[in-house]
C-alpha cells in the first residue's frame, strides 16, 4: 500500500497522459468519424466506397497492429513525430471507424421525411446533413458514443508498448521498482481506470438527458 501512496505523483503523471491521449483522440475520432459517416451516406459513389473500405479495414484490424502501422509506417513517408503524437494518430484512426458506424446508425434513425423536407426548401445535401440530420442523429447516439469513448480510454494503454509514459507504463514502472507491493499497485491502477470510466459514463448520461428532445 505504501508503494502506491508514496508514488502518487507517478500515477498522476501517467493518468494525466492517459487522459490527454483520450481527449485528443476522442476529438479527432469524432471529427474524422463524422466525416466518414457523411461520406458513407453521400450521393457521390467514390466517397461512399472509400468510407466503407476505411471502416471495414480499420474496424477489423487489431489496435496494436494499427499502432505498428502508424509508428513504422508514417516515418517511411517522412512523418517523424513523438511517440505520444503517433499514439494520438493511431487511436484516432482506430476509434474513428467505430464513431463512423455509430453516427451512421444515428443518421439512419432520423426519419427520412426530415431530409425530404429540408431538400424541399432548397437546402443542399451538405446543408441538410449539417443543419437537419446530424443534430438529430447525435442526440440519438449518445449511449453508443459513451461506450466507444470508454473503450478508447482503456485502449490508450496500448501506447504503453510504444514508449508513451501513460497510466499502464506508470503502473509497470512502479511494479518493477516495488516488487513486494505488486497487487496493491495493480489494484490502484485498475481502480483509477474504473473511476475515470465511471466519470465519463456519468458525463455522457448527463449529456444524454440534456439533448433529449422536448
Amino acid at each position: 500500500m505504501d508503494a502506491v501512496l508514496d508514488n502518487l505523483d507517478v500515477f498522476v503523471e501517467g493518468f494525466t497522459t492517459t487522459l490527454s491521449l483520450t481527449l485528443l483522440a476522442a476529438a479527432g475520432a469524432l471529427i474524422l468519424g463524422t466525416l466518414l459517416a457523411a461520406m458513407r451516406v453521400s450521393p457521390v459513389p467514390p466517397l461512399r466506397w472509400f468510407a466503407t473500405l476505411y471502416v471495414q479495414a480499420v474496424r477489423n484490424t487489431p489496435l496494436t497492429v494499427v499502432f505498428f502501422l502508424v509508428v513504422f509506417g508514417l516515418p517511411e513517408v517522412g512523418v517523424i513525430v513523438s511517440f505520444y503524437r503517433f499514439a494520438v494518430v493511431a487511436l484516432t484512426i482506430y476509434t474513428a471507424a467505430f464513431v463512423a458506424e455509430a453516427v451512421r446508425s444515428g443518421i439512419n434513425s432520423v426519419a427520412s421525411g426530415q431530409a425530404e423536407a429540408s431538400r424541399s426548401i432548397g437546402m443542399t445535401f451538405s446543408q441538410t446533413l449539417r443543419l437537419v440530420v446530424l443534430p438529430q442523429a447525435f442526440a440519438n447516439i449518445v449511449p453508443p458514443l459513451a461506450s466507444i469513448f470508454i473503450a478508447l480510454l482503456k485502449n490508450t494503454s496500448i501506447a504503453y508498448a510504444f514508449g508513451v509514459f501513460e497510466a499502464t507504463q506508470a503502473m509497470n514502472r512502479l511494479i518493477n521498482d516495488n516488487g513486494s507491493d505488486v497487487i496493491a499497485i495493480i489494484a490502484a491502477a485498475a481502480l483509477a481506470y474504473l473511476l475515470l470510466a465511471l466519470l465519463a459514463a456519468a458525463l455522457f448520461s448527463r449529456l444524454e438527458r440534456a439533448v433529449r428532445p422536448a
Binding site: G113, Q114, E116, A117, R119, S120, I121, G122, M123, A214
Partner: protein, 246 residues
Amino acid sequence: MAEPLVVLEGVNKHFGPLHVLKDIDLTVDRGEVVVVIGPSGSGKSTLCRTINRLESVDSGRITIDGKPLPEEGKELAQLRAQVGMVFQSFNLFAHKTVLQNVTLGPMKVLGKKKADAETRGRELLERVGIANQADKYPAQLSGGQQQRVAIARALAMDPKVMLFDEPTSALDPEMINEVLDVMTSLATGGMTMVVVTHEMGFARRAANRVVFMDEGSIVESSVPKQFFTSPSSDRAKDFLSKILTH
C-alpha cells in the same frame, strides 16, 4: 391569359416492376389550383413528388416556369426553393422551434438576415393562426397546428407553386378544417397549387380543375362541377359512387 407554370410531358416512372406513372401529361397554369384525386396506389402522391424531383422520373420532361428540372445538385436545390412542399406527415424539423422551422430556409437558402426572416416568419405564423406557438417545438403541437406550421415554412420561401401531398390524411377529423381553411385562403389569394387529397369538399370549393388518376394514368381532367356531377369515365363514376354515398 393562361400561362403554364408546371408542365409534365410524357412522364413515366417505375418502382421495380411496378409502372406507377404512365405517360403523364399535365399542365398547371400560373394561379391555377389543381386537385389530384384517385384511389390509393393510383400514383397521385408519386406524381406530386416528381414535380420537385423528390422522385426522379424514368422518361419524359418536367419544366417549372420554363426551366427543365436539373439533376441532383446545387441547381436543383435552387429550383426546389421555388417549389413549396407540404407532406402528409408534416415533417417539421423536430429539433427546431416553430419559428426556427419557418426561418431556417430563408436564412440558409435565400441568405436573409435573421431579423428579417423572423419578422416575415412571425407574419406567416400569424396568417396560419399559430403566432402564439412560435417558441414551441413541433412535438408540443397538435397535428393540425404542425401542418399549418409546415405550410408557413413552405410559404416563407415565397414559392412560385405549392405542392400538397395528402396534407390532411394524417389528421384527426376535427383538425382537418383548420388546415383546409388555410389552403382555401391560399387558393383564393392566387397561389398556384397542386393538391393531392381525398377531401372532395375542398376540391369542389377551391379547385379550378380536378385531375382523376387511376393505375398510374390520368383518366380524367375537368372542372370540379363537371367532374362531380357528370364524370365521363366509368372508373371515375365508380370511384365517386363509393366515396360519396357515405
